[in-house]
Symmetry: C3
Subunit: 358 residues, 3 copies
């Protein structure tokens, strides 16, 4: 299967709309007679093969909007540019092989082929930071634009992927979503291709939001690791002393080909592998937690309480897929604390970690 | 199995309480050793057969409260009368046979025998609008009463059904719920029978609420389509320019006898079949979204953000079964947008659609 | 298997960290290649056997903090002492054998070996009230301390258990959580042992919170009944006329060894077994509802509406595991009403009951 390049035109399927060549891989198998839970590894293979064969819709072949069409920063705002590539890598879900909370060995294989967003310096010069989950955090203030030069650098799965952001404002060409025959250029970035997204930080963008793949095989590729964070602040707003973003998500065995289901925080499972968060008494903590799979979760931190958006004191709020909650407090309680999702099945399969306060 | 009519008395079971003749169909099979997910089509058949054999509890045979007992509108309020029948019809879950988002054919059979609420003109004269999901929207203002003349016109499943509203106030006889030996007349409307419900729009009724079957086989019959909406506004409150009500629900294959699970919006699955919502820049949009099955969902609209009830900006809030969230904004972003539930399994099985802004 | 007593030292495993003797029972089976849903009764047996063999971590052997280390009440506050033991008992999930709502017999066996918290008078003198689910409600006002003298009196399962509270403030030694090699004394209370927890009612503790086992086999033991409530009020705040706490939870058949799944309110399933709540017109009602299992629920009361924490009128809010919502109103609607979770599968398997208003 040859790798498609920007200079190779994508012929429209002779069979046109709904032809097999234009089918969306995932829905053919998972959205058909089976659900994600029922899908066998072979179904997943088939979905990937479909996705790799998919032709770019004609509507997505047109040149992306030029600089003149992209939104500009508001007066006083700036353009914040990022260079980000989607790439494949072997990912170890539990590098220590242990669960420090329950003092158990993590049984069975733990590595699989992940897809992640990797940040680079200007012009895709050098990688910035390790590739991982979540992808790079994109930051802006109200009035700014966030400009992402995105490259699909995956050479393994050979599928179109995208970046679709929540929270920020964008016109349709920067939506980053596959939409069948209505797909625009940013919604189908084939392997080897690049696309530049321009997103606006409007007053109603203030918050912490996910971004993720929304290409034609988005369910599988998001589960493989194609997700990250956008943070938009009020103009000049200070950052909290400690700011943490946690995606709570899972690795189904039919997707990873591993023997077991892992529930994870930022791509890792079980305390000692999941992020260990540190703070000191007196610091202001903001802990942003985002649902990263198809499940509903709660976020509990031992020894701490905080006000939710209604002003009610909570220590274990619930949230849904791609929904964000923020826990925020002034630290006053030193010790080693556990954080975890309070769904039994999730905490027992790895969705827990340490919070250390000095 | 003869059709029961109002003039045929319902003899109490000789076997009395807990006799087989008086058993609630659904619980006998689904609430017993099996859950809804485990139930075979044969279990569903058995539940339906039980429900069709059920005798009306003696408490429900007494004459319904007369006009003198029903609440009257508050000074300045009005009585809003509706004529609504429950009826059975063949329902196509995806009439186009296609998913416009993912450019796939919707495989396999898509039609099943649904149960829906149909509105009629005064005195059950003529049908008003097509029968479908959700049923007719009932509207009132604070101080009004909503009076529903309800007829069970189903001639296929031959079971007692009801209308149970959320949000509005009612005395027990207008609860519309089967309650075993405590059932009142509105809680068991046998095939061919009629019952008139009177519901009050009180100050704490302001909002958008579901109504649904709450008869003895309510789980199955609600999943078959017996649900609709009540909207109560402040006195004289203007309507938004565009007001949309979406039920997000599902059609389990054991209930529909179809080969696959469909996730649906207003009874339809997959973009191009689910409602295509239209608006123009400058209009005020109110999008009310209600959980219509046993699942938890989120509601995401591409390109848009809004304040939730806490004042926080969101673009993907979560909600539970028969819970309502409202997304409200002044439209400012033209284009073709996708709306969908962000639970992977739901969006991939049809819970998505188009939002078109000019 | 000999019962461990406080005077018997716990030798550290020769195999040290991650040795089989130090494995956490539950995770070995459930968190490994299986999930709770997949676990066979034999897996559960194995988890229990592991838990019964577990050695106390060395860190938990040190003397618990003495009175000098425990927090003292604030000026004007008091110390509220409770004596509570964990004990095993046979528990009938549906003592009437009937479902009054649906007029059905509850099929099959209904009794299993539960683990519950039982309150005693000072110095473990006499039991106070019946042992059951939820355990004793602990109450305090801002400025108070809640001091719980806890004894693990279980003689059947022979496992370490604890009390871990939400909402109140505590230093790590009073967290009541097993933390592997970082476990402190309150996180591993072996059979026959005692531990005294001191928890502070701080201003951000105001609310209604769960407490529950957080020992090394907490998922199973919480599902068996080890949970209860903490209520913290503002100083001098009056109590509502009627105050109800409902845990909405479930009994999976692999844990109970019964033939079927039960969904329960406070340990009982099906109307007539679940609590029947009573009130009179004019009374102020506060109904606190807490998620007690790994599921998400909603709480619906027929004939009533109330403001949620955002000020929005609701009659069916959703909540997650160990999350609390409070429904609060001035009673004005006499009759027999149903309350239930609106997840079909939960209400049909017993999560419903009566609310009687005179």
């Amino acid at each position: 299967m040859s790798r498609r390049r920007p200079d190779q035109p994508y012929p429209l399927s002779r069979r046109g709309f709904l032809g097999a060549g234009g089918s969306a891989a995932l829905l053919c198998t998972l959205g058909g007679s089976k659900t994600l839970e029922d899908a066998s590894p072979r179904d997943i293979d088939r979905a990937d093969a479909f996705a790799a064969r998919m032709e770019k819709p004609a509507s997505a072949r047109q040149d992306a909007a030029g600089p003149g069409d992209a939104a500009q920063p508001q007066p006083g705002g700036v353009k914040r540019e990022y260079w980000i590539a989607a790439r494949s890598l072997r990912w170890d879900i539990a590098p220590t092989g242990q669960d420090e909370w329950m003092r158990t060995r993590v049984s069975g294989p733990r590595k699989f082929r992940a897809l992640v967003y990797q940040r680079y310096s200007t012009g895709f010069g050098q990688p910035i930071g390790p590739a991982g989950m979540p992808g790079p955090t994109l930051e802006g203030e109200v009035g700014d634009t966030i400009v992402v030069h995105f490259r699909n650098a995956d050479e393994k799965l050979n599928q179109a992927v995208t970046m679709h952001p929540h929270g920020v404002k964008y016109s349709p060409q920067y939506d980053g979503s596959y939409l069948g025959l209505f797909t625009l250029a940013g919604g189908f970035v084939a392997p080897g291709e690049e696309f530049t997204y321009t997103w606006e930080c409007t007053p109603d963008s203030v918050g912490v939001w996910p971004y993720h793949d929304h290409g034609p095989n988005h369910t599988l590729n998001t589960l493989r690791g194609l997700f990250g964070t956008v943070i938009v602040r009020e103009k000049g707003a200070p950052r909290p002393d400690v700011e943490v973003v946690h995606f709570m998500h899972s690795f189904p065995p039919n997707v990873t080909r591993l023997r077991r289901l892992f529930h994870a925080v930022n791509g890792r499972s079980f305390a000692g592998n999941t992020p260990t968060v540190s703070a000191r008494v007196g610091q202001e903590i903001a802990w942003h937690v985002i649902g990263g799979d198809g499940n509903f979760h709660t976020f509990h931190v031992h020894g701490h309480r905080w006000r939710d958006a209604t002003g009610t004191f909570v220590d274990n709020p619930s949230f849904g897929p791609n929904e964000t909650i923020t826990a925020r407090w002034r630290e006053d309680n030193p010790g080693r604390w556990l954080y975890h999702c309070h769904v039994f099945q999730h905490q027992d399969a790895g969705m827990a970690g340490w919070y250390l306060v000095e």
